[in-house]
């Protein structure tokens, strides 16, 4: 039983894989070229206009007037008022965790001050990490609130209509105050590039052996499935790291994206994401009969990851089923992690809710692969 697993054999396979990779110039070129090309291309992202963004309202002034403002926001279609909260702290936490994109605070005595003509202000805090998501909603906010208030200013206070604006809207964009798209796209690109290379590299790992006739040899050797898997993915972990470093350097020097959080934490969690994708690629390789099939299956996993992870479209702007699918993809969580660490300066505790799904994914895929790995030629 002592021979069920041997790190030494993992090392033997890893070394062989590394030597083969070293001689494969086209693959090496792709590894270096892909991040550079993609980063440059995607630096300028597409705009979209999602609705129903998660919002919370902190209303310190409970009058008919303020209730009408909240209803008005809901009716605009942009905001989904998920929660009415009571403290500032709650609001901060909701934004920080990414659960809410908007927190709208109506101050004490808003209605009274408005009627008195004291020009009270409504505070709107926005999680601007994903400027694509909030752009439309943010720009419509002022107009919506104004028109509601004006509509409701009638009777004795109707004169205030003329003296517009009778109140202020104070917008605070958090995390990415300039709303620069590439700030947001760069963390997403780290995830995208790592996903593409990691999946494709390992998706071909076994089919290549099969097609070149090496599989019969490999199978006749005393190696366990988990050893083959670990050995084969190990060189690509280094490759994944090289790519991450290229992207981060480009992000810093080309797009001037500041990394607010800990680089060490980012690198550590990157490792988990890399392994997730390598394991997924290896699973594809195990299931596929030939290289064409492996590539098709890779596409089938990569396209949903690109579309439904929050990379291409705002996650919370998608229909529920799409969010459900996205919730099963490692990229969804890793994008939140990279955005959190790079743009918001999140700590480990803050990103943990996105880390454990990755760990579970890794475990499930590895177990699945070891199960379906055939040790015979049948």
């Amino acid at each position: 039983m002592a021979d069920v697993f041997s790190l030494y054999r993992v090392f033997a396979i890893g070394r062989k894989e590394f030597l083969q990779l070293k001689r494969d110039k086209i693959t090496l070129a792709m590894i270096i070229g892909l991040p550079i090309v993609l980063l440059t291309l995607f630096g300028y992202a597409i705009n979209t206009d999602p609705k129903n963004l998660n919002s919370a309202v902190l209303s310190r002034d409970n009058t008919e007037f303020t209730r009408s403002v909240i209803t008005g926001l809901k009716n605009s279609g942009y905001f989904k008022i998920e929660k009415e909260i009571t403290t500032d702290k709650e609001g901060k936490e909701l934004l920080q965790s990414g659960k809410m994109q908007f927190v709208i605070t109506i101050p004490d005595n808003f209605s009274r001050n408005l009627i008195r003509g004291d020009k009270p202000s409504i505070l709107i805090e926005i999680d601007a990490t994903d400027p694509v998501t909030i752009a439309g909603a943010a720009s419509s906010l002022q107009g919506i609130i104004k028109s509601i208030i004006i509509r409701d200013l009638k009777g004795p206070v109707a004169h205030l209509r003329g003296e517009l604006p009778a109140f202020d809207i104070e917008v605070q964009k958090l995390y990415n105050p300039e709303g620069l798209t590439h700030y947001n796209i760069v963390p997403g690109l780290i995830a995208l590039i790592l996903m593409i290379t990691c999946i494709i590299m390992t998706a071909l790992a076994l089919t290549k052996e099969r097609e070149r006739g090496n599989m019969e040899n490999l199978l006749s050797m005393p190696v366990q499935p988990i050893e083959v898997m670990m050995g084969k993915i190990s060189p690509y972990i280094i490759i994944g790291y090289i790519q991450s470093i290229i992207i981060l350097l480009m992000a810093k020097f080309l797009f001037h994206v500041p990394v607010l959080g800990s680089v060490a934490l980012l690198m550590l969690l990157t490792l988990i994401f890399i392994i997730c994708n390598l394991a997924l690629g290896f699973a594809i390789s195990t299931a596929a009969k030939n290289q064409t099939q492996a590539l098709q299956m890779s596409m089938m996993t990569m396209i949903p990851s690109i579309l439904l992870s929050g990379f291409a479209f705002p996650f919370y702007g998608m229909p529920l089923w799409a969010q459900g699918v996205g919730g099963c993809l490692p990229m969804t969580y890793f994008i939140r992690i990279t955005r959190g660490i790079i743009l918001k300066g999140n700590s480990f505790i803050e990103v943990w809710p996105h880390v454990w799904p990755l760990l579970i994914f890794m475990l499930v895929v590895t177990t699945f692969t070891v199960r379906i790995y055939k040790r015979t030629l049948d």
Binding site: D3, S6, Y8, R9, F11, A12, I13, R15, K16, L19, Q20, R23, D24, R212, G213, N214, M215, E216, N217, L219, S220, M221, P222, V223, R375, T376, L377, D378
Partner: protein, 308 residues
Amino acid sequence: MNKTELAIDVKNLSKKFGNKVVVNHIDVQVPKGQIIGFLGPNGSGKTTTIRMICGLLTPTTGAGTCMGMDIRTKADEIRKKVGYMTQKFSFWEDLSIRENLEFVARVFGMDNIKERVDNALKNLGLAQRQEQLAGTLSGGWKQRLALAACILHEPEILLLDEPTAGVDPKARREFWDELRNLSEKGITILVSTHYMDEAERCHSIIYIAYGDIMVKGTVQEVIDSTKLVTYSISGDDIMGVMDKIKGNPEIVTMAPYGDQLRISGSDKYKLEHLLNKSTKDKITQAEPSLEDAFIFYMTKSAKEEENG
């Protein structure tokens, strides 16, 4: 023979792919330290049988042991004791000879890797080429690399699937000398081949056709089992004789060798009668060869297959 002396002992082994029976209830017993030749026409199931013995294919029926370990349940243990050389070259073409050998040595958990690989390279005359990528080797050199790699971990059993296909005669002879050495050391060898001279160098042979074992035993036993009679005709017009009697049902094998025509058949008197009728040349009785025996069995099995 004592059962414990058998290195390979499988019984009733069959393999079906879909509905096609490729190996049909065969028994293979190989005593320790012997070289057993595994012969049979293309597609007769040799590779399939070898794969089942080393655990690469799951038998449809049958069971047995390899070095005393059950082939169905102890495949992992068997892998460590067996050196399997695949029919098609299956080492890594983008690795050098040395790298391939080192990989094998590591996977089998050997120590003194450098020394052992150096030795293997020297023994097989590959030392000068050790840095060459395996993919750029000629066919014969690839075979040598494959053999070097499959004996590197000092297996107790060698399963060699047509190891000398495409190898030149001198290299073939050296190869067989090496096999003989290994067998002297107690290593058991099951080797498939299409070469008669190689079959003659085995302790005994197994002849398989359409998944059935037709005959097994020493070379002489196999030849005798056919009960063939062979005649040799020498004269000026052997091709004329050949044309005249070609297709006659009495003739099992017929082939010209230089200025002689060798003809074998099963019925001595009918064959003699036929030959006397067809030629005035000198007819002498000869010994049937192993090749004659194989062609006899090949024809026989083909007929049986046709008639179901």
